[in-house]
Every structure is written in C-alpha cells, then in structure tokens.
C-alpha cells in the first residue's frame, strides 16, 4: 500500500512539474513573447486599474499591428493585484509559474513597491508606467524602471508653470509672487508640495506665505484655513487635493469671497479628476491641474513618429471607449510603447542587455504617445524634462490643455482670476 502511495505522489508530481516546465519552455518557441501584467482589476483601486488595463490592451494591439516586439507577437499574463500583499504574491506567481522575464504595472503607489521588490529578488525586469511615489527608484534596485515622472517631477512642472507662464501675465517677477502651499498629507501630496516649495524658493525666490497639510478624510470645514489665507493674501494657491477637499476648498472660498490670482494643482486626484467638474459645473472655471495632454493638444507639435503613434493611439481609444484618452490610458499606453522601443533595441530580455538599451535611448520631447521623450537616469527614472507634462484648466465643464502653448490650440483664461461671479 505505501508503495502505491509513493508511486501516486511521484506520478502526480511528474504531471504537475512537467506541465509547468512545458509552459515555461513554451514561450521561446511559439512566436509569442509573454510579459506579466499586474494591475488592480478588482477591489478599491479597480476603477483606475481597469482603465490602465484598457490602455495596455489598446497599445498591445497597436504594437502587434506594427510587428510585435523583437519580431514576436506580444501577449499578456494578467494578474489581479488588489493590495500590496496580493501584488507581491501575484508577481511571484507570474515569475515562477508563468516564467515571465518582464513585469509591467501596477499604477498605484500602494502596489508598485511590493511588486517591484519581488521582481528584483528574481532578477526580473520591472517596468512601472505610473506610481508616483518618489521612493520607488531610490532603493538601489538595478532592474526597476519607471517611465512616468514621480511626485517631485509634478512639483517641478508646477513651479515652472507659475514662474514662466503665470508670473509675466500677472505682471510680477517670480520673486514677487506670494505663494501659499496647501496639501493633503499622503506621500503623493507631500512629495509634490515639498519639491515645489524647494524649487520655488531656491530657483525663483518666491515668497512662501503659508504651508498646511491636512488629512482629507477627516476634513469637514475649510473656513478657518480660508480665513487665515485671506489675511495672508497669496497671489497663487498651490493646492494638492485628493477628492472632496478640493470641492470644499473651492466652494467655501467662493462663499467667503476669498480672491487670489490662480490655483495650481497636479495629478488626476481632486481638481484633476472629472468629479471636480461634476460637483461644481461652471463654478470650477479657472483651476489649473498638471496632467497628461487633454483636448486642445496639437498633434502637429510632435515629431513625425510621435504624431503617428499618438494619432493611432487616440483613434484606438476613441474606438474602444468612445472618449478622449483618460490619464490612465495615456500612462499605461505610453509606458508599454516605450517598453517596445527598448525591447526592439535590446533584442533580448536579458536584464543587462535590457538595461544597456534603456540607458542608450535618447529621444527628444515629441517622440511618442503624450508627446513624451526618453532619457533614463542611472536610477531607472525617465527625466522630468523629457516626460513632457501639460497644464490643463477647467473651462466651462471641461479640462483643456493650455500649456506649454506650442502644444495646444487653446489658451489659459482668467489670469488673474477675477471676481467669483465673473469667470464665464
């Protein structure tokens, strides 16, 4: 009887392991190239995660229509990363069971750290297309890359916009601008705010009149903060908001008739999300949010190869979803397209050859989707000034592209913001 059990176990193991080896071996011979995709498809992050997934699928199809990667058809092994623990275990599964050599994902700052740790442990390439946590590629992990800029990059762009676009239109020198910093207290909010503060002071000598962090989840009234700001009389309010806090600040500022010259935000949260427009309608007019390009974006401003892929991408998103691409589509899509460029150059998924290809890529702004360019640092981070970002403004219920002006047909309005009832 025991011998029968042993035989059974051996037989079972053979079937299981044999099956696994077959999957791993299958990759090289089938004319397909398989990468792992980790996105939160269910759970609290699913709303954005699904859009990222949509962006990835759209660009995967564009890539396959254009010869795939390294001459093979690009296919995905998709795993659902609902939270950091699952992200880590699913990354592990993709590597050990599916045998992938490259993982891309996860969009969220909550997930990218855990997932990339696992990839690094297995010497697998980790290719992040969003995740704005500044700590992400400061952990000494050699094969971890990020195509999007991080939170500090957003702060860099915001100050660029305030100093070079707003200041002259307000008839102020950058060092005459009084700026108030207000932000929700997540690592994102702090990352953007701290880098903006630093650049505002060190490079332009702007006058910081206030700095406040708050927890958006327990914020029920902004009147005291607004009353304080009214007395400090800032020209520009730099406010990183998460959700309701943006609506609350804007609505209560109107109630208290708090007049300032401009409000600048960064990212797809708060003022940068469609909810803000839904909540306030035309009252939202005038707010600036740093994002990926939106309506008004000029294709002709890109280089020929950039125009081509941007147009194909926009049409594909339009066809599939019926809308202009959302930020999630744009980040995931441009990340995957950039991965193709690297793989075509490296012709290998060997981590060292791949890294050499990443480091040698040097494309100017306007070369690909979103008008981005490419130049990676040794840390595996794409450069701020290549990952072109755009200032969008709420104009009559829509976020439209207004800066840099060479990239858009539309212009910023309400500089300075006039009386509350005259922003039409």
């Amino acid at each position: 009887m025991p011998r029968f059990v042993v035989t059974l176990v051996v037989a079972a193991l053979t079937v299981v392991l044999g099956g696994e080896l077959a999957t791993v071996g299958g990759q090289a011979t089938s004319g397909e190239y398989r990468i792992g995709v980790l996105e939160p498809i269910t759970g609290p992050l699913a709303f954005e995660g699904k859009r990222h997934m949509e962006g990835l699928e759209i660009v995967r199809d564009l890539i396959n229509e254009r010869g795939g990667v390294m001459g093979k058809k690009l296919v995905f092994s998709v795993a659902d990363a609902t939270d950091p623990t699952v992200a880590a275990s699913e990354a592990n599964r993709l590597i050990t069971r599916e045998g992938v050599k490259i993982i891309t994902g996860t969009f969220s700052s909550r997930l990218c750290g855990a997932a990339s740790e696992v990839a690094a442990r297995h010497d697998v390439i980790y290719w992040e297309s969003s995740c704005v946590d500044p700590r992400f590629n400061k952990r000494g992990l050699k094969h971890v890359y990020r195509t999007e800029i991080d939170a500090t990059g957003f702060g860099w762009y915001n100050i660029e916009f305030i100093a070079k676009h707003l200041a002259p239109r307000l008839n102020l020198k950058p060092n005459q601008i009084k700026i108030a910093f207000l932000s929700e207290d997540s690592s994102y909010g702090q990352g953007v705010t701290e880098s903006a503060r630093q650049r505002a002071k060190a490079e332009f000598g702007m006058q910081e009149v206030m700095l406040e962090y708050y927890n958006w989840q327990t914020l029920n009234d902004m009147t005291p903060t607004i009353l304080k700001m009214k007395q400090l009389n800032p020209d520009v309010v730099h406010h990183i908001s998460f959700s309701n806090d943006g609506v609350l600040f804007w609505r209560q500022s109107k109630e208290q008739n708090f007049l300032f010259k401009a409000l600048v935000h960064a990212g797809a949260t708060g003022y940068g999300g469609s909810d803000f427009g839904k909540a306030l309608g035309n009252d939202a007019n005038g707010v600036f949010a740093l994002l990926e390009p939106g309506p008004g974006f000029r294709l002709e401003a890109l280089r020929p190869e950039g125009q081509q892929i941007e147009k194909a991408f926009r049409d594909a998103v339009q066809k599939k979803t019926g809308t202009y691409p959302f930020g999630a589509h744009q980040l995931a899509g441009s990340g995957l397209w950039l991965l193709k460029l690297v793989l075509d150059r490296a012709q290998s998924d060997d981590p060292e050859k791949f890294r050499a290809a990443v480091m040698s890529l040097d494309l100017p702004v306007g070369s690909m989707i979103n008008g981005w360019g490419v130049k990676f640092s040794e840390l595996g981070q794409n450069a701020n000034d290549r990952v072109q970002h755009y200032m969008l403004q709420w104009q009559n219920g829509q976020l439209v592209t207004v800066w840099p002006e060479e990239f858009t047909t539309l212009r910023a309005k309400w500089i300075p913001l006039g009386a509350w009832d005259q922003r039409k």
């Binding site: 609290p44 209560q252 208290q256 909540a279």
Partner: protein, 304 residues
C-alpha cells in the same frame, strides 16, 4: 507674520466668522450624533455602524436627486419613515440577537455590520465620489461682513429641533418614560411589565431614522462614497462621550465644543492639529470625568 496675532477691526470680523463657523459646524456634528446618543443612552450599545447609516442616507439623497431631481429638503421627509423601517429590520435581523450579549460581542457585531454595509455600497454603487447639487447649495446669507451657508444653517436648525423633540419625547410621553426606565434598570423594567425588546427595537429605529435624515441633509455639503461615514463616525463618539454618554442636550453642547476646538485649532495652529486637540480633550474627559462633561456620575456603567 502670524495673522492671528494682530487685533483690529479686520481681526474682529474674522473672529465673528470663526464663531459662526463653529456654530454651523457644531450643528452638523450634533445632527449626525443625535441618533448615536439615543441608541447609546437607552440601549448601551456602541453602534459602530452609525457612520454607514449616515452614508446610506447620503446615497438616498444622491439617487433621489439624480433619478427624480428631488430636493434633499423634500427627500428628508421620505428618509425618516424609510430609515425607521430600516432600523426595525436591522434590529430584528442583527441587533436582537446580541442585545443581551457582552459589549465585546456587540462591538464585533456592529463593526461587522459596518464593513458589510460599506462593501454593499461599494458593490452596488462603485467607489466613485458622487455629488448632490441642489440650486441652494452655495446660497449664502450675510449679516454685516459675516457669512452663513444656508445648507449648514438649515442642518443646524434641524439638529436643534430634533434634539429638543427627542428630549420632549423622552420626558413627557409614555413611550419615552418606558425607554428611560429601561435604560436605568433593564431588569426592574422587565419586572414592571415593560417589554424591553420592544423598547430597544423602537429606540434603534428612531436612532437610525435620525441618522438617515442627517445623511440626506449633509449630502449636498460633502461627497457621497461608500466610506463617507468614516469621516464623521469617530467624531460622533467624541461628541457622545463629551456630552455625557446618552445625554441629548449634553451631546448638543459636546458638538459645539468639538467644533470650537476644530475651528480654533485649524485657524491658530493649522488643520493638522485639530484632531490632536479634540482627542486630547476626549481622553482628558474620559480620565477625569468618565461620565462625560454633563453626565451624572455612574452613567457610564448604567445598564451594563
């Protein structure tokens, strides 16, 4: 230069506006806490799902607004009977089984209920932030240079009315007397022929009706999403404790104290400080006056 340190006419205007902000914010907190105070006062159950019933009230306001373009001030009249029934059903299905159990069991049960309701909302209506925008949303009233948000004024007035109505109900009606008797001594009340189960059912239903109505009324001021209740629930516990663990008028004053601490803390020190201040107050009260600022000695152990 700290604006708080200068004193002139402008400063006095600001102080007046801060006082108004305190009263209006306190009104919202009182409105939200009334139901919790009642349930805690009579049943001695800490209802951790309180915030989720608030959230359901907010969703009711949202859907009524989207589907029927119904104004929250109209919907509130529908919400009161509707949430009364919800309270009866939840009591029958969940609370009845644990009402005689230990506090631990009750806490686990209501925390469980809270998580279930949050996730039901997440599944049914997704995690999106929703907004209710009636025409009167941004209407402000002015008195001199002081500004009042109409929605907040209405919420505060209703909070006062609701509190007074419940105090009168408890004091002068037969049902109210029976409820108080049950709260004071459950066993003695049973011996006097009071059906305590019915009393608890009624109390729970009234408490849920109050918080449901509160949800409808505050929906225009805040965004509506599955965990919206968490924004207020911790705060309501502070209010209930300050007010004397079940004392209705005490809770009203407790709300004003919390609001005053929050507004003054945010203005003079920064928003990040407000919770530090009111939780320090919360701990101090629990240490030095365990029955709450306005409660009678021993109230904290009543009915345990």
């Amino acid at each position: 230069m700290d604006p708080a340190r200068r004193l002139g006419p402008a400063q006095i205007d600001v102080l007046a506006q801060l006082a108004v902000a305190t009263v209006l914010l306190g009104g919202i907190y009182a409105l939200i806490s009334v139901g919790l105070t009642l349930i805690f006062g009579i049943m001695r159950v800490v209802n951790f799902a309180h915030g989720e019933f608030l959230m359901l009230g907010m969703y009711l306001a949202f859907w009524a607004f989207v589907v029927f373009t119904a104004d929250p001030y109209f919907v509130v009249f529908v919400a009161i009977p509707l949430f009364f029934v919800v309270g009866l059903v939840v009591y029958g299905l969940v609370m009845r089984g644990v009402i005689h159990a230990s506090h631990n069991v009750q806490i686990f049960t209501t925390v469980g209920l809270s998580t279930v309701l949050q996730n039901v909302a997440l599944v049914a209506w997704s995690g999106d932030f929703r907004f209710v925008r009636p025409w009167h949303l941004s209407t402000v009233l002015r008195a001199g240079s002081t500004i009042f948000n109409l929605t907040q004024v209405v919420a505060s007035l209703i909070a006062v009315a609701l509190t007074l109505a419940l105090v009168a109900f408890m004091k002068w009606t037969h049902a109210g007397r029976v409820m108080r008797a049950t709260a004071q001594d459950r066993e003695a009340a049973t011996l006097m022929g009071i059906d305590t189960d019915r009393v608890y059912r009624l109390t729970f239903a009234i408490g849920i009706a109050a918080v449901g109505a509160a949800g409808v009324l505050v929906a225009p001021l805040y965004s509506v999403y599955p965990t919206a209740g968490l924004q207020f629930v911790l705060l309501s516990y502070v209010v209930v404790v300050l007010g004397g663990l079940g004392d209705m008028l005490g809770a009203m004053i407790g709300s004003l104290i919390v609001a005053a601490v929050e507004v003054a803390g945010s203005y003079f020190f920064g928003v990040a400080w407000k919770e530090i201040f009111y939780f320090i107050l919360f701990i101090l009260v629990l240490v030095f006056r365990p029955a709450g600022l306005f409660g009678q000695r021993g109230a904290e152990t009543l009915g345990v």
